[in-house]
Structures are given as C-alpha cells and as structure tokens.
C-alpha cells in the first residue's frame, strides 16, 4: 500500500492530499486543468521542495516523513512519463532506455524492454526520427527500465492522435496487467479514466474530493443513467481499430463508432438486429438556442 499525505503551497495555490493506493493497481487522478494533478505527481516523484507530509511505500524506507526526512528524487523508485515524452534528443533510443540502468547486462535489458514496447528494430534511431507514438513507447520503456515501484504518467496520451493514443494506452494497460506494477496516471479525460483505471481519484482545487472504482464513481453516484434501444445494422465500415456502424432506429439513421474487437466478438454483420446500450459518460450535452 502507498500511503500518501502531502501539503504544499506555492503562491496562492494550496495542495492538501491524502490517499492510499493499493500496490499493483492502475490508479487515475481525474480532474480539471489547474486542479493540481501534475503538481501532485511531481511531489510524489520528489521534484518539488518545501513539501510537508508523508509518503510510505510498500518496500523500503519512506520517501517522506512527517518529521521532514526526505528521500531525494533520484533515490525514489519512481518512473515518470511526461506529456511530451521528454526523451534525451541527442541519445539513440537504446541509450535513452539504458540511461537509468546499471550493471553488466544492460544491452540485454534494453533489448527486452524495446521488444515489450514493439520497437526492437528502432534501437539505433534518434528521437527526432520517430513518430509521436514511438517516442511515447520509448519513454515508457525508459521509465520502466529501472523497475520502479510506482509508475507516474502525466497525461501521456494528450499529445497523440486518437488511434495512436489508443494503441499506447492498450500497451501500457497490457504491460501493467502482466508485470503488475503500480500506476498513478493524471488525466482530465473521463473516457480514459473509465477504460483504464482500477481506481479513480477525483481531484479539484488541490484536494482529493472522492475516490472509488470507475463504474461506481463515474456512473453510479454522480452521473446516473444507461439507456438501451433496439436498432438494425445497415452498414459496417472497419479501419483496423474502430468500426463505423450505421444504425437504423425509430425510423432514423445514425452512426456510432465502436471497437472492432466488439464487432468481431459479437459477429456483427449488416442486417443484424442489435441492442445498443449507452452509458451517460459517452455523451455530452449542449444547449441549443
């Protein structure tokens, strides 16, 4: 269990956070811009000074004690992935991943990590020769290289396009489930939180205002409602990741985008009668004048 209590003040901004994170789970900090989410990650990583509180971790010495004993950032077992990858631009992919490693079998570890993120062929390339998605994959491999106790992700998908974002998202989720490391990710995107998290923390104005499982927190209490309607599939158009489905319901035609996996699993074909279930979080509302 990660037991975190932090108090921090900078100018007029005050952060006061208490949270207990279960090891091996995917935690998400959800909140609007300016809520203090990224600051909280920096405080946990040890990148800000003048902080009070405590950070107790499952293994080893506490990173911060109420008595003021602070473990420096470079001694904390933390991996940090930034919004804009922050790769070392003058180093190759291999050297970026190897930066935090020490010992005899560095090249072997680098090879395994690059294989895990699907970039085994790109080891000699420089970051300027990679796409945005590839850069984030390298950043992930680099953050995971020293086998950190806690992986911190600061809006890692916000600079990627939709398709690439979903691929990297899936990669991180798969690796987390396989290796069972603890993740704390910051986002302001509810759908991301709903898809990825085991546990969601809602943050506002420097405080955690609620926490719970995504279903309970995002659907159950505050945003209620799920609706179903019967429809007929008119056309299916797949592009490898998403499927565009044209539906006919109540005499009207409309389109929905769904995962291609769902299409395959449910064997959906044109002409099928289907039941469309939608969650309230899938919609946004806008007043019309």
């Amino acid at each position: 269990m990660f037991d975190i209590w932090l108090q921090y003040m900078k100018g007029r901004f005050v952060l006061d956070v208490k949270m207990r994170m279960q090891a091996g789970k995917f935690h998400i900090l959800l909140g609007p811009s300016g809520a203090g989410k990224s600051t909280l990650l920096r405080l946990i990583a040890g990148l800000e000074s003048d902080v009070n509180g405590k950070i107790e971790v499952p293994k080893g010495k506490p990173w911060l004690t109420p008595e003021g004993a602070v473990l420096p950032a470079r001694s904390r077992s933390v991996g940090l992935m930034f919004q804009h990858h922050a790769l070392f631009p003058h180093l190759t992919v291999e050297k970026n991943v190897a930066f935090g490693l020490s010992g005899d079998d560095i090249s072997d570890q680098v090879r395994k990590l690059l294989l895990a993120v699907g970039l085994e062929e790109r080891g000699k390339a420089r970051p300027s020769q990679l796409s945005g998605g590839e850069c984030q994959r390298v950043a992930l491999a680099r953050a995971l290289a020293p086998q950190p106790e806690l992986l911190l992700l600061d809006e890692p998908f916000s600079s990627l396009d939709g398709k690439t974002s979903r691929e990297v998202e899936q990669l991180i989720r798969d690796l987390q489930r396989r290796e069972n490391f603890t993740v704390l990710m910051v986002t302001h995107n509810r759908s991301e939180a709903y898809r990825l998290a085991d546990h969601v923390w809602l943050m506002k104005e420097g405080r955690i205002i609620d926490g719970g499982e995504p279903d309970q927190l995002l659907l159950g209490k505050r945003i209620s409602g799920r609706f179903q309607m019967q429809a007929e599939v008119c056309e299916l158009d797949t592009d490898g990741l998403m499927a565009k489905v044209e539906l006919l319901a109540e005499g009207r035609r409309f389109f929905v985008l769904i995962d291609e996996t769902t299409v395959r699993e449910q064997s959906i074909k044109a002409g099928n009668r289907v039941v469309l279930t939608a969650k309230a979080t899938d919609f946004s509302l806008q007043t019309i004048e």
């Binding site: 920096r42 990583a45 990148l47 790769l87 631009p89 003058h90 930066f99 680099r142």
Partner: protein, 219 residues
C-alpha cells in the same frame, strides 16, 4: 607579426579561461535561486555597456602598483598586473565575460525542464546529469561562447591600451599596432593587418555557424 601572435595568444587564453570560469557562472545564473543573483547577473553583463576605458581605468586604480590589491599580487606572484601580459589577460577576461556567459546561459536555459527532470527521476546525480544531458544539449552555446570570446578579445582596443600600455613585443596587440600604423600614416601596413583580422573574424563566425548547424541537425 609579434603583435599578431600576441593577439592570438591573448585571445586563446582568454577564451579558454572564460569557458572554465563562465560555464559554472552561466549554470548558477540559470539554475540557482539565491539572494544577490540579479546583482551578479548585472555585474557579468556590465562590460557590454561600460566604456572599455572606464574598465581599464578602474583596473589600473584597483591593481596599480600603489593599491593594496596590486601590492598583494606582487608579493604573492612576484609580478604586477599593470603593463604585463598577465594583466592583459585578466582585463580581457573581465571585459569579454558577457560574450562568453550569455550564449552559455541561453543554451542552458534552452534545455527543457522535463528532460532534466527525467534524468533526475532516472537516478542521475549532478555530474551524470551535467555531463550526459545538460552539457551535450548546451554544446552549441558553449561553442558560440568560445568563438565570441576569442573574436572579441582579438579586436579589443581600449582595455588593452589602458592596462597594457602598448609596449611593443610585450603588450602591443594587433589592434594597437593598426592604430600606431594609422597614426604614423603607414596605410599599407594598417591595411594588411586589418585585412588579416577581418578574415579571421569572418572565418570564426562562419565556423561557428557551420558547427552550430551540424550540431542542431545531429540533435
């Protein structure tokens, strides 16, 4: 020829000393927050706007034979800083300080904070972070500082005249000799020496631009 060689020698040692002194100064100005930081930055920048004769005058007042500092230097090193090569070197270092510090300062400022933070979180201590991340990324600025300090020292006039006294073979630099040639209506000699300095300055700037471009492509 002796004046030209002396100018080169002075420019070389000044540029080298300024990299050694200026790099930590630039680093401190970028990354350290302390009381008096703005005053330190103002002192480093002052030679940009200060007339060279004023700097030379205060140098003579502070390090002259009659001053306490001058007497102490003579007692410790057995030589004076006035009308000697050592004096020229110290004065040139002071006068060219902003030309070396500012490009390095801008270069360190340009290293993204997220990249530094990534190195820290990956366990890098100060030296690993500096040698493997900050310095390689700031290298174009360090090279600019080297070229600027060298070229600026090569063309110095006011400070070297005040501090060195224009002694042929000892403190007479190429720019002082050009002045002497002009004063004695020896235009041909003035032309020849001026052309040499012009070519060297042009080549230095071209080399700086070419290497910066190569480094930027590489990064």
């Amino acid at each position: 020829m002796a004046a030209l060689l002396l100018s080169f020698e002075l420019a070389f040692w000044t540029a080298l000393s300024l990299i050694i002194i200026g790099m930590p100064l630039a680093y401190v100005l970028v990354y350290c927050r302390f009381f008096g930081r703005m005053l330190l930055e103002a002192c480093v920048t002052m030679p940009l706007v200060l007339p060279p004769t004023v700097l030379g005058f205060y140098f003579l007042v502070f390090f002259g034979h009659e001053s306490a500092a001058g007497k102490m230097i003579e007692a410790v090193f057995g030589t004076s800083l006035v009308f000697t090569f050592s004096g020229l070197l110290v004065a040139s270092i002071l006068y060219s300080l902003p030309f070396a510090v500012q490009p390095m300062q801008r270069a360190f400022e340009a290293v993204p904070n997220s990249v530094r933070d990534a190195a820290i979180v990956l366990g890098a201590g100060f030296w690993k972070r500096f040698l493997r991340v900050e310095l390689p990324l700031a290298w174009p600025g360090v090279f600019s500082a080297l070229v600027m300090a060298f070229s600026h020292t090569l063309g110095e006039f006011g400070v070297v005249l005040m501090v060195g006294g224009n002694i042929p073979g000892e403190t007479q630099t190429a720019s002082l000799l050009i002045y002497d040639h002009v004063q004695s209506f020896n235009e041909a000699a003035a032309h020849g020496l001026s052309l040499v300095l012009l070519l060297i300055s042009m080549l230095s700037i071209l080399a700086m631009l070419a290497i910066q471009r190569r480094i930027q492509c590489y990064v």
